[in-house]
């Protein structure tokens, strides 16, 4: 079997000014073709205005085992959320 085209992760920014979002993967021989393939595969229904591609092997990720130390400490910081504060209605919209 000949060498398979590398795997790319595809990120697309939609119409409404949101950030690029991971939409899926595909194969392509290089970055330029990955962008074109992403255009053809992942924007068939007018889903995007901008495409990022990253070769899958270049993505670094958090390890599942670190979920506790990484993410649980923020659970107790409830004061970061606006709903933590009771503001009287008389004070108006805030």
């Amino acid at each position: 079997m000949s060498q398979e085209w590398p795997l790319w992760e595809i990120f697309i920014r939609g119409q409404h000014g949101l950030s690029h979002r991971h939409v899926g993967s595909l194969h392509a021989p290089d970055a330029e073709m990955a962008i074109k393939n992403a255009r053809d595969v992942y924007t068939r229904r007018n889903e995007g205005v901008s495409i990022w591609v990253v070769e899958a092997k270049h993505i670094s990720a958090t390890a599942p085992g670190e979920k506790g130390p990484l993410f649980e400490p923020s659970e107790s910081k409830v004061y970061r959320h606006p709903s933590f504060f009771d503001i009287p209605e008389e004070a108006g919209h805030m």
Binding site: H27, K36, N37
Partner: protein, 261 residues
């Protein structure tokens, strides 16, 4: 400018012929490209080719729809696509040639896309508002087709020894069908006079610039001969291939006349 004024420069029949040339090119090529669906070398290419075919089909509906309107016989784009015989088709021979291998299909695509892109860039300035609007929409689609076919031809030409040889063979086979795209006749002269569209011969430098650069990067050699087969855009003599294509394409409409699908 309204249809009536244009008739001074271009007869109604000439304008219909002109629109048929545009619409038959996209109809026949779109059909050919759609034949790849499910059979491409890799999924990503399968999806990309289908997008190209869909664009061409969409353009066909617009061009043939306009042709039917100008004709004024109450026909639809479908009537023109499915109920004309070979001698009424006005596409260039290049687009009706069979797909061959993937390299031949992509080489044909590059040659047509390069012509199509420079043609549409001119048609955007047509005095006919409908033609101008269709060209405006189509030129964006075709800019992408060209980018993709050019990159693929370059990649395959410069790839392995086998891919290089196959691309050179495809170029040698298809080159004699390039010249027809730039032939002019009375219909074109009338179109120029009416400001409807450009003289095909005037498109050649733009085409050459695109194709020469692409072939150089693809390490492919343009054949010496400028011999050109002709007969498609006038309808005088198509290849044998078009008849077979129409047998398939028109079968249901022919076998069950008047049915609604």
């Amino acid at each position: 400018m309204g249809a009536a004024e244009k008739l001074a420069e271009m007869t109604q029949e000439q304008l219909v012929q002109y629109l048929l040339r545009l619409g038959d090119n996209t109809l026949v090529l779109g059909h050919r490209v759609s034949e790849w669906c499910g059979k491409s070398p890799v999924l990503e290419e399968d999806i990309a080719l289908a997008n190209t075919a869909l664009d061409l089909l969409g353009q066909t509906q617009l061009w043939l729809g306009r042709a039917a309107d100008v004709q004024g016989e109450g026909k639809s784009a479908d009537d023109l696509a499915f109920l004309r015989d070979v001698w009424d088709f006005r596409n260039v021979l290049l687009v009706e040639l069979p797909n061959g291998d993937f390299g031949q299909t992509l080489m044909r695509q590059l040659l047509f896309d390069a012509y199509h892109a420079v043609l549409l860039a001119e048609l955007v300035n047509s005095t006919d508002a409908t033609i101008s609007a269709i060209a405006e929409k189509a030129s964006k689609e075709v800019a992408y087709h060209l980018e993709r076919s050019r990159d693929t031809v370059i990649g395959l030409g410069d790839g392995t020894e086998e891919s290089h040889n196959r691309m050179q063979a495809a170029l040698d086979l298809l080159w004699p069908y390039v010249g027809e795209m730039f032939h002019s006749d009375a219909v074109d002269a009338a179109a120029v006079a009416a400001g409807i569209g450009p003289d095909p011969a005037s498109l050649r430098p733009g085409f050459d610039a695109i194709v020469t650069a692409a072939l150089a990067e693809a390490t492919l050699v343009k054949p010496d001969s400028d011999f050109a087969h002709k007969g498609g855009r006038t309808g005088a003599m198509h290849t044998e291939h078009l008849g077979h294509m129409l047998c398939q394409m028109q079968w249901l409409q022919r076998a069950y006349p008047g049915n609604k699908w």
